[in-house]
Symmetry: C2
Subunit: 404 residues, 2 copies
């Protein structure tokens, strides 16, 4: 007997018919003699509606109240799925984040899980009851509801799977591809991918798994399978590098449109200026991704460019504008019509020339690179958003990833 | 400085614009120097959608899961209202039932409040923060979410007002009327009404206040005002009999379409038969209202008629049918096309002839009475639903309640 965590996203539970289908898949897993916990998202569209209401009330709303509102989406799904399971004879009960409890820090709207305490839940699972767990949510300091950020249900699933034998993430795609198949029809499905590569893919917007869920899976060596909620066939296994025999030089090409660029023109070039800019942003819990600093002509001031998530642009702008007197920059330019394109592969550690091929390919298509950043297994560039499709297709071909 | 509880129902918070209006009314009350707690329902329509999903999944769904699902409606509203208050400069935070906590028994979907423990909430109110409280919900045994039944937000408001100076219930009507003005245009608004009369009005479906809220207000002598959320004028005060100088013989005429009649034909007439029938119904938490038993011709069996809420009819029928072998009745007849009409007034204690006038008035309109029940200050009859309007208008005139 194995303990399995199954996770279904919003499109898999988007209406009552789909919820009943999920109940059948859970029953099948339980009928194989397994202990099952099932983690679910909100019904597709529900969270968007809730977020829209929050924004309509107040663009700079209290993230604690935001969490109280949006956490209801998952609460609805767990109740309905528990009923659907009971209806087909499977003992089940729902668990909100605060009931388990999933204890998080207090960073509302993007909280991090600190501990998961599940003695009662595990006891009931061992007695044959399916645990239906609300993804995306937890409980923070002061007994307040927290949420883990978009896609947080994946993290909930991996967290629930720390002592499980497998964590199956059911999605509307049938696995992880070399790039987005909607843009590049020749994209190929990968059978296996390393945690490290998946981490880069997730962080640059492949949208299959949330980045924190992969970090957590890597740290605790949880075997995660990404598979289709509609078809019954194997997906992509996210696992240790050792498990993958044939390694490709480049595994995939990812992109993220959820990027916005802020340039501070003529910032005084003095020690501590970077800390003065990025400290307040960090305090406001705004993630800064790429950072580039250029020395300007006079040697006394510098232009500084950084990127944040599109959703954080208004807040980031306000934080930096509020500090204008202290920072002393001349002008602020913001641009959200940009996209980050990344080439990823554990193979590039030992092979030079990967970056050169990327720059050459983009240049030959006439695409200007705005910002570059690199890591051990990734090269990312920021380009104008209108070039997204062209860049992806050209790079996919250049790295030999096109399906036969 | 007074402590005021304000309660707004679903239509008062049905969209973002209305929620912003509620925030302005709350701000006005706070600007008068008062400590304010505001209790809100789900946005109009939200609860119906949630209930519809539960019924679609499973007609005989687990009431514990039902509560988990429907309690989300109020949770959305409190988060949004807290944001709206903050947006206009009023410190506020939301409170779910389990956060306060509002401790209830375990009768899911119609739980009763046992205790309300609010030290932290009161402390924050005293520091100037508006408490935005989710109506309708609490926390029961095993850390499960409970709900108080339809209209339960009124009870939440009164419970929150036990130590408050006033409990203002804002509704889509401007007070309590002698009867439903939509049916009887000559209905009059009452300035004051006793707890006892309001209790009877509520219990027979005047729909202005939930019955338990009135019971609780009466027990703890909470002064409750029913007033319009749209207009700024006094409503109806529900208070002690002593406070009302001029008492009417009959204060109002109420009706309830939410009635269903079950008749058991030829039940053996033996001791304990009533307990055998109503015991299982009570165990299933089904409220039985009127009960009438007739001796039949042979003296060995009897016909027994009782009424339950329309929503409970299917479950009540199943409970009684499951016990058919034990009960030994011949036939079961169910009918939900009935209405209960009630004449209410504390004055009738000392005045005979009130009932006689009711029977006479209905007879002269050709309306047949199916079941009769009476209390000290109320006479109720069950009649065919099609006669509702005719009966109400005739009785309103007969008791001299028509507006000039």
């Amino acid at each position: 007997m194995a303990r399995i965590v199954m996770k279904f996203g919003g499109t898999s539970v988007k209406d009552i018919g789909r919820i009943k289908n999920v109940a059948l898949r859970v029953k099948a897993e339980r009928d194989r003699g397994n202990e099952v916990a099932v983690v679910v998202s909100a019904m597709a569209g529900a969270t968007n509606q809730l977020v829209a209401w929050c924004n309509e009330i107040s663009p700079l709303h209290d993230p604690g109240e935001y969490d109280t509102v949006v956490a209801t989406g998952e609460q609805v799904t767990i109740g309905l799925l528990a009923m659907a399971l009971q209806e087909i004879g499977v003992p089940a009960r729902s668990w909100c984040g605060w009931q388990i409890p999933v204890v998080t820090d207090g960073t509302h709207s993007k909280a991090r899980i600190k501990t998961i305490d599940t003695p009662e839940m595990v006891e009931r699972m061992e007695a044959g009851e399916v645990a239906v767990v609300a993804g995306f949510q937890g409980i923070g300091p002061g007994n307040r509801i927290t949420t883990l950020g978009r896609g947080g249900s994946d993290t909930s699933a991996v967290a629930a799977a720390l002592k499980a034998d497998r964590c199956d993430i059911y999605t509307d795609v049938d696995g992880v591809y070399t790039t987005d198949p909607r843009i590049v029809p020749k994209a190929k499905k990968l059978d296996k991918i390393t945690y490290e590569e998946m981490l880069e893919l997730a962080s640059v917007g492949a949208k299959v798994l949330q980045i924190r869920s992969v970090e957590m899976a890597m740290k605790h060596r949880v075997r995660v399978q990404v598979l289709s909620s509609l078809e019954d066939k194997p997906g992509t296994l996210v696992c240790d590098e050792d498990e993958i025999v044939e390694k490709e030089l480049v595994s995939g090409i990812a992109y993220s449109r959820d990027e916005a660029k802020i340039t501070l023109v003529r910032v005084p070039d003095r020690p501590g200026i970077a800390a003065a800019i990025f400290g307040p942003l960090a305090e406001a819990a705004i993630n800064v991704d790429m950072i580039v600093q250029n020395v300007s002509d006079d040697g006394k001031s510098t232009d500084l460019t950084f990127t944040v998530g599109t959703a954080d642009l208004a807040r980031a702008r306000k934080v930096v504008e509020d500090a204008k007197a202290v920072l002393g920059y001349e002008d602020l330019r913001a641009d959200s019509d940009v996209v980050k394109v990344s080439v990823i592969g554990v193979g590039m550690r030992s092979h030079p020339g990967i970056a050169q091929k990327m720059f050459h390919t983009l240049a030959s298509e006439g695409i200007n690179i705005l910002v570059i950043s690199t890591s051990e297994i990734k090269i990312s560039v920021l380009i104008e958003e209108k070039y997204t499709e062209l860049a992806l297709r050209a790079l996919h071909t250049a790295y030999g990833l096109d399906a036969a």
